[in-house]
Amino acid sequence: MSKPFSMRMDDDTHKALREHAARTEVNPSKLVNRYVREGVRMDKHPAVTFRTTSLGRRAVVLASRPRLQVIDVIGTWNDNKQDVPKTARYLHLTEDEVQAVLRYYADHRDEVERDLEDHLAAQRNYKRVLEQREARTRSRAAIG
């Protein structure tokens, strides 16, 4: 569900937006929507930023760990029975950084849990695919 929203943009920003949209083959309107959506979240949660992966945008822990996704922190926090010091130690983060991610999680719980479930489902699914491939290879070798 989206609503139209008109805005004024300075010439340089408009030109930069158009060029970036063309370069990345993303509709300028969608790009602005993404910048506002992520910008509002980053203003509220300075410990979190976003990066592009082959499968889309991911929320990651800013600080010094841009490869560490929010779902990594939440998954580790769950594995450690929601113990913040243990989670921080495991991931080499400060406890404040873990708390900051937990605040982001509290605000976007459904989205983070969906992302985490996709992450775990991919682990299960690809394991099954690799096992099936291997079984078929063994079966063909036995027949041949």
Binding site: S54, P66, H92, H119, A122
Partner: protein, 95 residues
């Protein structure tokens, strides 16, 4: 990764290329991104040194899980050629 902060800014593809240059296998639980990358490298005819996936259920991200992971890695590499996983991927079996 925490010992090499310069790698933090790299994309997954760049990381896989660096690991290949250094003749290292990537060990990751990030199947969603790296499985796609393994297939993408294959489709492009680009070689990579191997990716070893871990499953969160088999190797929970806890202190105990690290011990199990290290034991399993030691057991996995024993007796295998360095390039055993070249251009492929698999799940790390639990030792």
């Amino acid at each position: 990764m925490t010992e090499r902060p310069e790698l933090q800014e790299k994309s997954d593809a760049a990381l896989l290329r660096i690991a290949t240059d250094e003749r290292r296998v990537i060990v990751t639980n990030n199947v969603r991104d790296f499985a796609l990358l393994v297939e993408t490298f294959g489709l492009a005819g680009e070689s990579q040194f191997g990716v070893l996936f871990t499953h969160n259920r088999t190797f929970p991200r806890t202190d105990d899980g690290i011990g199990a992971l290290v034991r399993s890695l030691e057991s996995f590499v024993a007796g295998k050629a360095e390039d055993w996983l070249m251009d492929s991927c698999m799940y790390l079996p639990s030792a």
